[in-house]
């Protein structure tokens, strides 16, 4: 029986460390949580495809020892749709940022949810565009400073990805944070095991841009900020609720039509 650490290592490309991400970035915590979830599920790495978009989150697939499909900006879910229907036997996990999934890719986000396509979306929400240097995102809270909302901060309202996913028809919807390092892999594991469209929104710190521009301090201070900003679903006092908001058993896309690829029927 291998030690748990060894089984997690099967899913990581340790030789690529350190990552491309800035010191203190939360994305590395999500990579570890995803590797832990895959290790618990136990699929062979070659039977898993991690699909990334463009942006900091889009680089995630390179750090997993699975198949990697690094696609275009905003369209990872559309690539994943074709892939999953062509090979329903493969496990497909999409890693995408808040700008990637909710701005340029918003259409694909709601339609993947509506179809209840059997893929998992890990939505990395750092409330800002990191790769391009700190511009306002659809998730930037009103009043937050970014390089494109200087001075008194963003005047736009922000999306709530959990509400959007539920309204669009996702059948497993959860939110956690990079502060919640024990909860995060458990949610990801449940999402991957779920049949149908599953989304886990993960609030992740960007100390380089969001933290610096909004004077939230370095990564440790931002983790405390994440803790203080989140509450249980019943808690009305805090910005982001965490927890599992929906876990419904409904037919996934393809179940009703009986569409199955010739490749997996053979």
């Amino acid at each position: 029986m291998p030690r748990f650490g060894e089984s997690v290592d099967r899913y990581l490309r340790r030789e690529l460390l350190p990552t491309v991400w800035c010191p203190g970035c939360g994305n590395g915590s999500i990579v570890q949580a995803l590797a832990m979830a895959l290790a618990r599920i136990g699929r062979e790495p070659e039977d898993v495809v991690v699909v990334g978009g463009i942006g900091c989150s889009g680089r995630t697939p390179f750090y997993l020892a699975t198949n990697a499909l690094h696609t275009t900006h905003g369209r990872a879910l559309a690539f994943a749709t074709g892939l999953k229907l062509a090979r329903p036997d493969l496990e497909v996990v999409v890693t995408s940022g808040d700008g990637d999934s909710l701005a340029i890719g918003g259409n694909h986000f709601i339609h993947a949810a509506r179809r209840n396509l059997d893929v998992t979306l890990l939505l990395f929400n750092n409330a800002i565009y990191g790769m391009t240097g700190g511009q306002a995102a659809p998730t930037t809270p009103t009043g937050s400073r970014t390089s494109t909302s200087p001075g008194s901060g963003s005047t736009e309202r922000s999306f709530d990805a959990v509400e959007l996913a539920m309204a669009a028809g996702a059948t497993f919807v959860a939110r956690t944070t990079t502060f919640d390092v024990q909860e995060m892999p458990l949610y990801i594991e449940r999402a991957i095991r779920h049949r149908g469209f599953s989304m886990v929104e993960i609030i992740t710190q960007c100390p380089t841009y969001y933290g610096r521009l909004n004077r939230l301090g370095e990564a440790p201070a931002m983790l405390v900020w994440e803790r203080d900003m989140t509450g249980e679903p019943s808690d009305d006092q805090h910005g982001w609720k965490t927890g599992v908001f929906r876990d419904d058993d409904l037919p996934a896309y393809g179940d009703l039509t009986g569409q199955n690829s010739v490749r997996t029927r053979a």
Binding site: P45, E46, D47, V49, V51, P61, F62, A65, T66, N67, A68, L69, H70, T71, T72, R75, A78, F79, A80, T81, G82, L83, K84, L85, A86, R87, D89, L90, N107, H108, H111, T257, G258, Q259, N260, S261, V262, R263, R265, A266
Partner: protein, 373 residues
Amino acid sequence: MALRMVMGNEAAVQGALAGGCDFYAGYPITPATEILEEMGRRLPPRGGVFLQMEDELAAMAAVVGAAWGGARAMTATSGPGFSLMQEHIGYAAITQTPCVVIDVQRGGPSTGLPTLPAQGDVMQARYGTHGDRPAIVLTASSVREAYTTTRKAFQLAERHRTPVVVLLDAVIAHMREPVELPPLPEPALNPWPGSSGTEPPFGAHPFTPFGGPSPIVVTGLSHGEDGWPRTGAGQATERMLKDAIAGIAEDPSLTQGVERYCMDDATVAVVAYGITARAAHAAVETLRAEGERAGLLKLDVLWPLPEAALLEAAEQVDGLLVVEMNLGQLVMPVRAVVGGRTHVAHLGRADGLLLSPDVIARRLQALTASVRS
């Protein structure tokens, strides 16, 4: 088999299925919608996957994703949708993903003339995505050719590991002609040959989709033959592109993609493709009946441009007339190839009306008169 009245779009579907197509993702758009509808009827009973996506960006993305799942995948669209697909045609090119895109041309730009034919996407089909790529663009001038060309597109996509564009037009797509199409083979599991896991996934190797013995890395970033990003200057992608461009330039099924009609003794010739070549054929027949030595070069492959055939014709005739339903697209590379060896004139229109045999014949007569004087 018996003759049957078949619509061009329907023939293209039959050709795709004969070519092994087992995945279709699309979005409704005139005048390509019948391809979507026909695929929706015919693919699932054959064990294939049919999918109507939320837009053309998504359709082309799903096609590339499905190809990496091992599918023989395609989509079809018209001008506005073809514009949206360009980013992912580029993605398919840099990731060496075999797939097929049918563009049924209609009047443009923008929404333009949704129900009327045009040939205004010739340059977009070649240069529509940013950066350089090995472009294979085929065309058809009859319902039968809509079948044979689409079938051939799948072979070429597989051979060269690149997206292949089939340019139809609204007339070919909606026209019905009596044709006899061979019965379809039974759907079969048709694995890609190069899935041994011993060859690198990129470069001049057979396509290796996901699901093989070892994980693969696929990225739209510049990458090496192993698939891993190489984003410094002077990296491997330029060489991979050059190899691929050279590969298609040497493929005889592309370089010989020309039909010659009455060319043996021609002193003047039309260069045409698609529905316009049908009218040009009739024009040449008319002129021949009047005793004029007119000929036709009908291009079945637009890109790579069949340069040898054009040069050969240019050495022979006193003038070439490029006829196309746009305001001057293919005429530019034809002039570049001919390089002054003969006079190259242009006859074009982009108002949704066909170029009639009579108009082409008169223009060809005028060209003959001007080069003789």
